[in-house]
Amino acid sequence: MLQGLAFMLQANISQQAYSWLSRATYGVSHRLIESFNALSGSERERWESFVRLQLGAASFVDPETEARIQKLSLVTMGLGLPELWSQHFLASRKMTKTPENAVAQAMTAKQEKKSRRERRELALEPVFDCESAAWIRVIHSPFQIYERMVEFWHDHFNVFAYEGRVAPAFAILNRDVIRVHALGNFRQLLGLVCRSPAMLFYLDNAFNQAGNPNENFARELFELHTLGAENYLGTIERDKVRRDAQNRPEGYVDGDVYEAARAFTGWRVEDGTYGLSANSGQFLYSDQWHDRFQKVILGEKLPEHLPHMKDGENVLDLLCSHSGTARHIVRKLCRRFVSDEPPESLVSKIAALFLSRKDSPTQIRDTLQDILVSSEYLSEKAEKFKRPVDYVASLIRALDGSFEPSERFVAGVNRCGHRFFGWRTPDGPPDVAQPWQSPQSVIERWRLSQQIIAGQLSGCEIDFLATARQASTPLQLVDHFAGRMLGPRVSPSLREQLIVRAAGGRRQDSALPESLLRERSQQVVELISMSPEFQQR
C-alpha cells in the first residue's frame, strides 16, 4: 500500500480528517488544512474544535471576502427593499412604457431584442448580484459550514428568483432573513420566510383572499417547509387520522391544507394592485382580505376573530412543535452532510434534540453541531456526490485558484442543471446523487473543469507553477496534486494513470524540464478532476 499513499508535500492530514473537512465545506483548500492543523489535540479533538469555531463565530462576515465582493461593484448589495423595488422592478416596467417606446413599431428586431435584454438585466440585477456574491463566498469565505447552511436554507425554502417581481424581494430574503438566521431558531426563520415578499409572490400567497383562497403556499408550507411529504396522508377524512403519543394527528391531510390556506389569507404585499395605492414591495397584512372565522388545523381549533396575523402564526407554531417537522428538517440536514440515505437512528436521535430546543435561539447551530460530531458523520461510510456547484467550487479551492464569477462561468454551471437561486419548482434542487449523475450533467461538469484548468474562463485562473512549486518530477507532480485534490489516499490505479500522463514517455523520477511543468500539471489535474474519487465530497 505504501506505493498508493501519496506523500503530502505541504499538508499533513489523515484521509479521514480530509473527508470530514470535505463533506462540511465547499472543498478542502490549503488554508483550510492549515487552520485545522493549527488546532490542538488529536484529529478527532481538532475536528470538534473546528466545528465549534466554525459555528460559534461572533460574526460570519469575513472582511477579506467582503472586500472581494466590493471589488465586483455590485450596486444593489446595500439597498433596502423600497429602493430595490422601485429602482429595479418598477423601473424595468417603466422602460416598456416610456414615450420613446411609442415608436417601438419602428424598432428593428435587433433593437427590440436589445431593449428586452436591458429590461431584463435591470429587473434581475438584484438576484444577479446575490448570485455573484454567493460564488465569492462559497469559494473564498473561511466560514464554510455557515455558507453551506445558507445554501441549505435557500434550497429548503426554494424561491425561483430570476423573475421580475421576485428578484428585488429575493435580495432581502437572502441578506436579511436567510443569512441572518441560518444558524438561529427554525420557528423564527420560518416566520420571516413566510412573510417575505419573495415567498409570498413565488407561491401566490400575495393573492390569497377570504372567499377566494389560493392554496399554493399553504400546501408547500406543509409538504416542503415543515412536515414534509412523508407526513402527507393524502385525501382521507380528518377524523380518521391516527393520533400520536401527544394526541396530535400523526400527519396532515388535504383538509388541513385548505384550512391553512384560509389562515394565511391577507398576508400580502404592498404592490399597488387590487385598489392599493402604496407600491413599496413590502409585506402588508390586509385585514379586509383575511378570513376571520373558525378553523380546525392539525386537530386544533383556531377560534374566530383572532388578532391580526394570529391565525397564520398559530399554524406555524403548530407545525414547528410537531415531531414530524423535526424529523423532516433533521433528515434533510443529515442528508446534506452525512449521506443520501442517512441512518434513521441518527435522524431520530437528532430530531428529538431539535424538538427539545424549539424555543432556543441557537436551535439550528446546536443541531448541526450534534450532527457534525456524531459517529455517523465521522464514519467512513458517509459519502456525498458533489452537486455541480460543489464540484466546481472544490476544484478551485483545492488549487487555490483566483476567482471572480463571469457570465460564461455561471452559464457553464447552469448547463450542468444547477444555479444559485435558479431552481424553478418549490422542492428545490435535489440533494441525492442520482439526478446529478445524469450523463448530460456529468459531461458538462467535466468540460467546465477542463475549461477552468486550461484558463479559458476569464476571472478564474489557476497558477499551476506556483501551486506545484516544490514538485518537479512526474511522481512528485502526481503526489502533490492528488494530495491536494483528494487527500492522502489515492487509488493505485488512478495514481498509475496519473504517472503515465505526467511522465509522457520520460522517467517518472527525474525532473521535468521547466517548459513542460505547466502542461503536465494541467494534464494531471484534468484527469483527477474527472476521476470517480473527485466526484465525491
Partner: protein, 418 residues
Amino acid sequence: MTLRIKRREFLFGIAGGMSSVYVMNSLPFSQLAVPQARADLLDKSRHALVVVFLRGGFDGLSLICPTEGQDRRDYESARPHLGLPLTGPMAALRLDDRFAINSAAQPLQTLFNDKRLAFIQACGLPVPSRSHFAAQTLMELGVSRTGEDKRGWLTRFIEQVPCKAAAVGALRPTSLQGAAGIMAFARLKGLGLEGSSAQQVHLRSALRRLYGEAGQTASFGQTALNMLDDLEDIGLRTRGKDKSDLPSGEIAQKFAITAQLLQRDEQLQLVTLDIGGWDTHRQQGNIGDGYFAKQLGLLSRALADFYQQMLTTTNAWVTTVVMSEFGRRLKENGNRGTDHGHGNLMMVLGPRIRGGVLHGRWPGLANENLFERSDLAVTTDSRLVLHRCLQTIAPQLTLNAVFPRAEASSASELNLLL
C-alpha cells in the same frame, strides 16, 4: 434492422450488468406489428415511444371542455372566467357531439380529425394525491403506494424488454430511476469534452479504466463515456458553439432534440421529455394571449410537427404519450387560476393509435360525481394507458409485467391500438 455491435457493447457484455440498454430489442423484425393502414408509406424497422411529462399539473379541463347539457352548465358555473367559450372568435373547436377543444390547440384538432390522436378522459392514479411531488413520484414509479418499488415504470420495462432509452433534459426523470446507462440530452450540438481527438482518446480511455474499476457506484461515469461515444457514432457531436438549427423556445427545442435523436440513433426506442410550467395557480389565461393558451399553442404545434417529422424522416413508428401528475380542480380559484385536482386526460399520438376517439369513461361534472365533491374523478388508471403504449414496442407485454399492482379490470375497454 441493423445489428451493429459496437465496441463498447462488446466490452460491456464482458463487464456484465450494464448491457441491458445497449442490446437491441429482442423481438425479431417479423414480429414487429406494422399498422396496416400506413405500412405502405415507409419501410419502418422499429417502434419507439416518446413519453412527454407535463410537470406541475396540466389543466385538462382547459384543453377539452363539455359542450352539452348539465355537464356544460356545471362547467360554466364552476369556471365563470376560465371556462372555454363555445362562441366568438376564440370558441372551442368541436371534437364530437359532447366535447370541444381549446382553439389554441387547433393543430391537435386536426390530428384528432385525421384519426392520429386519441384522448383518454379522466385518467389518474388509483391512490389520489394532490401533492405535486408525491403524485409525480407515484406516477413515474407506476406504483399504487410509496415504497412498493424504487424503479421507474420505464426501468421495469427495459428490464423485461431490453431496449435503448434516453432522456431529454439535463437531469434524469424518476420514470427511469434505477436503470443503468440512460443517456440524457439537454442539448446536442456543443456537447462533449474539450481537446483534440488525440488528447480525447487518451483521456477517455484512462477514464474508462478508472470508472470500470470503480464498480457499480461509479456506473454514471461509464454512462457518460458511452454517451460521448454515442454522440460521435450518430454524428451529432460537433465542436464549437451551441448555435444549431434548433427552433427557439424550450418546448419546440426539446421536441427537436427528440426528433434528431430518433432520426440518427437507429437503436433508440424510448425517449422521455419533460415540459414544466403547468402549475397555474393564478392568471391562467386559457384563451388569446393568456399564459396557458400560449403554452398550449406551443405544445400543440410542437406535437403536430413532431408527428409529421417522425412519419417522414425516421425508420421508426413513433408513438407519443402526453401525461401529467394530476388534473386541476374543477372550480377556479380567486386569482383566475386553478388549484391541484385529481382526474385528468391523457393524449396518445401516433400511426398505431386508434385516433379520433375520446376513450375512457367520462365521469361527469355534477357535484356528486366529482372526487371529494371538487375534482374530476378518475375512471381509468393511467397505467393502463401506459401499458397500451408499451405494447406498440412489445405487443406481448402483460400489464403486470411492468405495473405489478395495477388491476386490469377496465383494460379491455381501452381499445387504444389499431
